[in-house]
């Protein structure tokens, strides 16, 4: 990741000098921490059991579930930068449920559930990940990825609505 990249500003279209730019100026620290968390969730130095390509692919799924085209494009670009391995690319396909790959199946099922309807999640959903051989630390990494991307998309949606204000 480029050090000075700000994914939210680029996706929302926060023009320097605009009234939206002035409104977020007092929260520049939050915007910077958001970008740093984005990099920590998508391209961590120690990815554990979730590769950068898989993270980009699952984030792309989350963007699709949120119907947010600009974030879909962003995560697609990240997937390309991660080399587009077939095993990861197919995880971004909404018609793919993991097939006979039990690990992919468990990851996809959980991402879709937590992105779309976290209210329906129960202890059993974590057990299904554990039964598929996913370590507890990787379950937390996966959860942070879904949770963070869901946050970042909502900030973008809100700020995009603010662009319509006089």
């Amino acid at each position: 990741m480029a050090e000075n990249e700000d994914v939210l500003a680029a996706i929302v279209g926060i023009e320097p000098g605009s009234s939206l730019s002035q409104a977020v100026a007092g929260r520049a620290d939050i915007m910077m921490l958001t970008q740093q968390t984005h990099d920590g969730a998508l391209t961590p130095d120690v990815p554990g059991g979730l590769s950068h390509a898989e993270r980009a692919a699952l984030a792309l799924r989350i963007a699709k579930i949120n119907d947010h085209k600009a974030f879909e494009d962003h995560f697609e670009t990240m997937l390309e930068k991660a080399g587009m391995p077939d095993s990861a690319v197919r995880m971004a396909d909404m018609w793919f449920d993991g097939g006979s790959d039990l690990r992919a199946r468990a990851l996809i099922r959980h991402v879709d559930l937590v992105a779309h309807a976290p209210k329906d999640a129960t202890r059993r959903d974590i057990e299904l990940l554990q039964e598929a051989g996913i370590a507890d630390a990787d379950i937390v990494r996966l959860s942070e990825l879904v949770a963070f991307v869901s946050y970042q998309i909502r900030v973008a949606v809100g700020l995009q609505l603010m662009r319509g204000l006089a």
């Binding site: 929260r27 939050i30 921490l33 119907d67 209210k119 999640a121 202890r123 974590i126 949770a147 603010m162």
Partner: protein, 191 residues
């Protein structure tokens, strides 16, 4: 006897993780730093010890969380808590809703708004400014978001400045994040 809670409450429950929290004795220096563990402060909640498995997000998440909820200026702390409650109701995070509803009550020295919101959601009979805030928070928290230009205009109509609206977007969205951890990685238990 303790049992899993499924109904909204302002009594803060206990939180029991479904995954094993980090064992502090095995923590790396980076994890200890993110946990802000010092020899005089070794009490860390199970929730934070669970999140410490992903230190590269936790180290930014903690300052981000504190900034969004408590930084100076902009939207009042109580109004930010209401945004958090709206998100937590959509995502049915009983624990987050309890913590932030009780903070709202402490800050406003009133329990009627939260009681009405827990009973009737966005149809609660509360003052127009609070109704506009709650409605926006609930709609932004849906997946996909259902917040519209009219909901945004209602915030302006209710007297919120642009800086205050930014803070509401941040506090509501933050709970789209927090709820997806707290409610999925463990459960609230009470008597």
């Amino acid at each position: 006897m303790s049992k899993t809670l499924h109904d909204f409450t302002t009594e803060i429950p206990q939180w029991k993780p479904y995954v094993a929290p980090l064992n502090l004795a095995e923590a790396s220096s980076e994890q200890l730093d993110a946990l802000k563990v010092t020899p005089s402060n070794t009490k860390v909640s199970d929730y934070v010890l669970v999140l410490a498995h992903d230190v590269e997000t936790l180290k930014h998440r903690s300052p981000l969380f504190n900034g969004v909820m408590y930084n100076r200026g902009g939207l009042s702390r109580a109004d930010r808590e209401l945004g958090a409650v709206g998100a937590s109701m959509v995502n049915r995070c009983i624990y987050c809703a309890a913590v932030h509803a009780s903070r709202y009550n402490q800050l406003t020295k009133d329990t009627e708004v939260i009681a009405a919101v827990f009973a009737d959601g966005v149809d609660a009979e509360i003052e127009p400014r609070l109704k506009a805030i709650l409605n926006f928070a609930v709609k932004l928290s849906k997946c996909p978001s259902e917040a519209t230009a009219d909901d945004m205009a209602a915030l302006v109509g209710a007297g919120l400045s642009k800086e205050e609206i930014v803070d509401l977007i941040l506090s509501t969205s933050l709970f789209g994040w927090a709820n997806r951890l707290m409610h999925t990685l463990g459960e609230p238990v009470g008597e």
